[in-house]
Symmetry: D3
Subunit: 221 residues, 6 copies
Amino acid sequence: MREVAVIAPHPDDEVLGCGGTIARLAAAGSRVHVITVTRGQPPHFDQDAVDEVTAQAAAAHRRLGVHQSHFLDLPAARLDTVGQAEVNAQVGALLDQVAPDVLFLPFYGDIHHDHRIAFTAAMVWARPRHSRTPASIWAYETLSETNWFAPPATPSFIPTAFVDISDTIEAKLAAFACYGSQLKNFPDERSPEAILALAQIRGATVYRPAAEAFALIRAIL
Amino acid sequence: MREVAVIAPHPDDEVLGCGGTIARLAAAGSRVHVITVTRGQPPHFDQDAVDEVTAQAAAAHRRLGVHQSHFLDLPAARLDTVGQAEVNAQVGALLDQVAPDVLFLPFYGDIHHDHRIAFTAAMVWARPRHSRTPASIWAYETLSETNWFAPPATPSFIPTAFVDISDTIEAKLAAFACYGSQLKNFPDERSPEAILALAQIRGATVYRPAAEAFALIRAIL
Amino acid sequence: MREVAVIAPHPDDEVLGCGGTIARLAAAGSRVHVITVTRGQPPHFDQDAVDEVTAQAAAAHRRLGVHQSHFLDLPAARLDTVGQAEVNAQVGALLDQVAPDVLFLPFYGDIHHDHRIAFTAAMVWARPRHSRTPASIWAYETLSETNWFAPPATPSFIPTAFVDISDTIEAKLAAFACYGSQLKNFPDERSPEAILALAQIRGATVYRPAAEAFALIRAIL
Amino acid sequence: MREVAVIAPHPDDEVLGCGGTIARLAAAGSRVHVITVTRGQPPHFDQDAVDEVTAQAAAAHRRLGVHQSHFLDLPAARLDTVGQAEVNAQVGALLDQVAPDVLFLPFYGDIHHDHRIAFTAAMVWARPRHSRTPASIWAYETLSETNWFAPPATPSFIPTAFVDISDTIEAKLAAFACYGSQLKNFPDERSPEAILALAQIRGATVYRPAAEAFALIRAIL
Amino acid sequence: MREVAVIAPHPDDEVLGCGGTIARLAAAGSRVHVITVTRGQPPHFDQDAVDEVTAQAAAAHRRLGVHQSHFLDLPAARLDTVGQAEVNAQVGALLDQVAPDVLFLPFYGDIHHDHRIAFTAAMVWARPRHSRTPASIWAYETLSETNWFAPPATPSFIPTAFVDISDTIEAKLAAFACYGSQLKNFPDERSPEAILALAQIRGATVYRPAAEAFALIRAIL
Amino acid sequence: MREVAVIAPHPDDEVLGCGGTIARLAAAGSRVHVITVTRGQPPHFDQDAVDEVTAQAAAAHRRLGVHQSHFLDLPAARLDTVGQAEVNAQVGALLDQVAPDVLFLPFYGDIHHDHRIAFTAAMVWARPRHSRTPASIWAYETLSETNWFAPPATPSFIPTAFVDISDTIEAKLAAFACYGSQLKNFPDERSPEAILALAQIRGATVYRPAAEAFALIRAIL
């Protein structure tokens, strides 16, 4: 049994990026922890809406078989005002508890700077200063974040690994449906149709009906 | 009315890469020329099969509204044995006739070296040594070619332009269906399902039901 | 008639980066808005000097035919202390008003971090969450900013579009001359000679007497 | 038990690039096949020397526990004169026999063009047109080849996976010693000291005494 | 005699990155200045430990023949909370005093954001707005920083220059030994064995027993 | 006194790329060798025209102070049909004679494949297998070649070194004028105006009236 940690800058990133993989790993016996790094905070966010999203996250995680959901209280959309060291400290403390073998991160080149800062915090924690660093670290792609920045001036998401989610694409779609407030109508990227189309094209690339794509950041074998 | 040239290393690349765009441009009054650079040649290819593909191309082009189909006799899958200068000469002579304002090319980083050589030949022809060079040059992505090489060691396809093909995705699928011999079952990348999924995800990226993605190589405005 | 928005981190970036293009678009009937993101603020900047630069900007914009000049009050050279979300909010509010079809941005890889932050704010606003996102977004190059960072460790400016400014290079030079305080003697990059040389070499690349170069960030066609 | 294939453009590349990994996999029960793509041919190479190298390869492979050594007769240092399609055919036919789950390739950006052509041939074979494509493909680094070209103009080797070879670094050094004719004195890159230093620094990067570094090309999980 | 400045984000970076080069330049008569940009500050750092590190730096610099050691009081690990403009001002004021001909910088893509900010501050100072800008600027690699981020999503260190430190590798190791508190046991990257292995492999790449590798940022010849 | 070798794929590349640098080095006492790799060959080239170009090269080289001009007989525009090994052999034999300390090469990413092949041949020769490899290797940019390919899909020319040619820009222009047959009218890139504009903008980047830009490939210091 393996410990798996998924870093989500905001609720729902974990489902968009690796919902199918989470469900597959959980079904195979891994203990998957989701660490949501930020929370919307007044006055920029409405407290009721934030509470609702947290409840939605809990429902989505149940649907995927997440072992434990962790929520940090760092300010959503304002992670750059906190300072990288403080984010490192809070993310690192939680990762020390979880002690994951496998780590899933948002992509460094996503348009939202919270993604870049959360990615960096996890990488700082994962520096190989002892033999207990994670055996593998992967970056996931997030609809509405990864396709909307400006490569090649900003980093380009180049997938090198494809996880077959043919058996869990339904769970992924159901988990995303839990986030009613985030659900948009096609052709918005945050629609079931777009999620399915991405899974199909990532799948077809490797002759599978559905897949999630990842960029391997570092594996120690 | 504009003259448009599409360079296809092999029959069907033009449909996979820009079938929807061809149909849209043709419907809007452009004259679209498809230049198929190679032909399968015995003993490596069966003559009957080659003739069949050529007939399929003609049918596909009719479906899209292609103005004229041009076929060069360079050897398929063996373009590197001919020498770049000879390919340049033959592709260039045809482009001199067509004198396109807009040029669509296969992507330089595709896994098939015929794509790289055909791209280069067209770029050599398009060198801006006079004021009649094309106003814009675009690279298209080809299912089963663009996703199957090895970025970042090989060039990564980074789309910067998205053409709305919501009105012509049906024509694109119908044109590809003309290539019966190339049609595979999903989850092969050369299946209708994969073509549709790619169109949907490229579309959703820009809030359109279906799109084809291109990398702008050079525009003169 | 099209609405065009140019994002200038500081006064004069808009002239260095796309003065000739602004003049050409304005002459052709587009309504060009220049949004200057920062203002020098005491004690780091002298108030009289700041007022002078604002007046110079007005004169330069008149010379180019700018439809409207907008000035935000964010602190020059200290945009990173404000937080990305606040910059996003202020830049976004103005762009909501202008509702541009075409958007010109400073380059993400410029040495000045205000350029990176302003670029990002505009890109966040332009996320394609509806069908009214700009049809095209371009990054311009700025003498004294774009050539002075550290590619390939920092992003390299790779031009893909060239706008013929043969008819407006004079207007560009005249507009830059309005910024008397920013004008340096050759061989400084901010001299008329350097501006002209860059226009000539960008022009010669596409067989035009003078051009401005841009990197296409995203077009929706 | 897994089938593993290592593509070596020339004899000894397989040891330099993944000798320690081969030994570890073999010890763990995998069947490792080494496919040497080229052979020195008169008049460019002396027949006796070529025979000697082939014998050395056999000895080295025994030392590492290679299951089977395959030698193609393509001309060393002249692979570009054969044509990519012919190389594809010969490499592909052998890979069809071996049917590997895991594939190790030379790096596409190595200075020797035989490496680029051999890499491409294996990638063409591995196109995911069915569900039997290899589960993972890795590029290895080769002393005297990978460090001697010209990044960033040529592709840069960016390792993403590190295989702990602490238990097999001795076997790797012993296998390389079998290639007496290729062994140079330090500070030549093809010396035992350089091989050991590279293993140590790749190891220290992940807190292991010795490692081999790889770039993941594609994994299907 | 040349003036040389080395920017160290934290004490010991200068030794890991260019200790051998410092010793060689000093021995040849250059005046080498080390500018340490940050200092650990309570409550995040223990004052006694900070004082100890400062004393260790002095000892290490003596061992290398550093002409003068400069310490700024910017907060370690929290440089992003200060604002880039303030860092620019303090680093720039010192560089104005030193007026170096040659400038050594940490690498922009290191995992620690203090490295990125310090690099940028020095580059802002070095903008070529007069004829006294440094003749050359180089980025060095730092064990435990440069190998631990995430290329290609983050910038990749691509060395283009190799300084032979065969005669000063001993001095480098001795200087690093002065930093007792930073010294770790192999296989940690901050161990004498790892430092030596890196010097050997960088050396072997250019047929030298030991070398330090640099990426040339800009030379004016 | 240093030995300098300049590799020119075709006559005039050496002047466009580093004519000013050649003149400056020659004036300072270096012995500059120009190695022209290809010659136009019937039936693709007219013999009289080829002879004329060779005479023009001799005149241009005299004007720059070239120590010795070497002409190989490899076929212009058809270097890919010869095979890399044969080009390596011929270029390498000449470089063995010259034994340069400094090596100037065309850029690997130029649109003309002869440039790529000539670059590679020189790099193969320069592999550091002994202590006599050149101390530095530089890639130059060539008007009409370097700007006309397709970055980022093809390699981007990123200059890291700037040679002040304020005193020799006249000699460069005079040398290029010797190539009457290659001289075009502005705005062609091969015109005196374009050459001058490029020198001015490369100069202004480093506060010099005129410069040639280079990418450092490898220095051993």
